[in-house]
Amino acid sequence: MPWYKKPQFTALKPRPAAQQPHKVPDGLWHRCPACLAILYMRDFVANLRVCTQCGFHEKLSSKERIEMLVDEGSFQETDATVRALDPLGFSDSQPYTRRLESTRKKTGLMDAVRTGMATIGGQRVSLAVMDFAFIGGSMGSVVGEKVTRAIERAIGERTPMLTVVTSGGARMQESTYSLMQMAKTSAALARLDDARLPHIVILTNPSTAGVMASYGSLGDVIIGEPDALIGFAGPRVIEQTIKQTLPRGFQRSEFVKEHGFLDMVCPRSELRDTVERLLSLLSGPARETTEESPASASGNGHASARAKRTGTTPPAAAKRPAGLKPKASARRKKA
């Protein structure tokens, strides 16, 4: 069935209990891979999977990421049934079809991105959230198509676009089709840009290669989580090419910000508020209805003139997600 005939939204179904990321896999404890501290799993999860000792940001699933970012219960998933095929009959250590099947089973995901509409602080956004658990967050035809549709939905509904990246790059098993998704998503972002709608990008560990050489680098605002690996070429490839070891901190968020390619490094605990604030500041084209003279806006100063020009009203009071406020100690401490 063509996508435009499908019902537009499908509810995000809860995963089977065994795959719930909130369920502690190996009991009650979590060992931080960065500082080796043993953490009480419940504290660690409540702290958005940021180490309470050293501030190390562990990967989040797309489900956890959506929960921490959007107003509770506001996420409506779209294009949840888009599935990868194996157009090239690709096989490496196992056939691509089998890899897809086992990854779907293992992760409960259909592919490496989840898309949908949600509100953040009452402001409606189109959302694309990648998931590293699905073949390393790699971009093939499905990721490219879903991200493109999410951008087109933002344009159609005149909402901002919010993209959360975690990806090792393009999906090799779909070869040149994967490469073309870079062009496809970037072309959609050209239209979003023409429509003067904001694109906010959050880069998380890791964000490299094909996704970074396309929509991952094309945000009006680009936010990095602390210490995330961000770049084009992977560090191993660079080391093999230049035959030297890379300096400490190379391609990490702070480094990328220093070189001018990140707007800010934002700890996970402050991410949601930062996004909410940015959304309200960049809430759409200020001159959309210029035929009607802004000078005729009476009384309430700039805000009402802007509201009149854009035809928007200030967002309703935000519904905060419950139980997701991280501890203040989540900030990363430099050792």
């Binding site: 090239l88 490219g144 040149t176 050489a213 396309s214 190379f250």
Partner: protein, 317 residues
């Protein structure tokens, strides 16, 4: 023989050498005359066998041949008034990126290309055709001028990839490529891209978004090099031939995938064996495709280009 012979061509060139030796003899015997006659037939048959059934890895070897014509060779043949320009106006001039203005059949145009060297010295200067961010930004600068002056853009792709190095990362290789993808998608002038050798991944795509994508017969275009794919997926770069098969990266494969519009034929043995025929074939194809695009207005070009990429990909729901 002045041109290096590739491994799979050896049987053919052994016979050609034998033929040359026999012909050079002052006093050929009657046995020599007989051998000459059979040799000619054998050579023709071998030529058909070898070049008629090239495997992907063999085509890649031709694409990487040191004597293969480079972007500048084609630019000088296909265009008049070639005027090269330099620099990204920000950091440096990337010599792996060729950029300038010229005329294609009297139509002023912009030309962008990736330029490999012809020898080690030039390859070091050209960085083996691997561009840095300033190369992508130089290309964008010239393409923006093309938009300003309403000129078509001709692109020649020949790169083993965008350069993976410290400086390239520091100066935003990913951003430079991504920016070009976005901007090229909405340039209201015709953009015609031709892969003349290697089209490796984002490094190739970074100057390769357009209305037409043509490929020389012995060129490849893919998300990753076969060696890179083999070392990641097959844990060993020596499996490159297998990866080259699996990745479906030659012209006919990509035409079937709806990614490439046309494969431009090369003379037997490849472009380096007969530059002029190859250049003429490119000229004929570019003329034909440019004629289809030349009179379309900007919004039509941009809309059709959007739909062209919009269709790419295979999935179900």
């Amino acid at each position: 023989m002045s041109l290096a012979v590739l491994d799979f061509e050896k049987p053919l060139y052994e016979k050609i050498d034998e033929l040359d030796r026999l012909r050079a003899k002052d006093k050929p015997t009657s046995a020599d005359a007989l051998r000459l006659r059979t040799l000619e037939g054998e050579i023709e048959q071998l030529r058909r066998e070898i070049y008629g059934g090239l495997t992907p890895i063999q085509r890649i070897k031709i694409a990487r041949h040191m004597a293969r014509p480079r972007s500048l060779d084609y630019v000088q043949y296909l265009f008049s008034g070639w005027t090269e320009v330099h620099g990204d106006r920000g950091f440096a001039d990337d010599q792996a990126c060729l950029a300038g203005y010229a005329r294609f059949d009297d139509v002023p145009c912009a030309v962008i290309g990736q330029q490999k060297g012809k020898d080690t010295k030039e390859n070091l200067a050209r960085n083996f055709g691997m561009m840095h961010p300033e190369g992508y930004r130089k290309a964008l600068r010239i393409m923006r001028n093309a938009v300003k002056f309403d000129m078509p853009i001709f692109v020649f792709i020949d790169t083993p990839g965008a350069y993976p190095g410290i400086g390239a990362e520091e100066r935003g290789q990913a951003e430079a490529i991504a920016r070009n993808l976005l901007e090229m998608a909405r340039m209201p002038v015709p953009i015609l891209c031709t892969v003349i050798g290697e089209g490796a991944s984002g490094g190739a795509l970074g100057i390769g978004v357009g209305d037409r994508l043509l490929m020389l017969e012995n060129s490849w275009y893919c998300v990753i090099s076969p060696e890179g794919c083999a070392s990641i997926l097959f844990r060993d770069a020596s499996h490159a031939p297998r990866a080259a098969e699996a990745l479906k990266l030659t012209g006919p494969d990509l035409v079937a995938q709806g990614i490439v519009d046309e494969v431009i034929p090369e003379p037997p043995g490849g472009a380096h064996r007969d530059f002029e025929t190859t250049a003429k074939n490119i000229q004929e194809a570019l003329r034909r495709h440019f004629a289809e695009l030349q009179h379309k207005d900007g919004p039509t070009l941009v809309e059709e280009r959007y739909q062209r990429y919009r269709r790419m990909g295979v999935f179900e729901e």
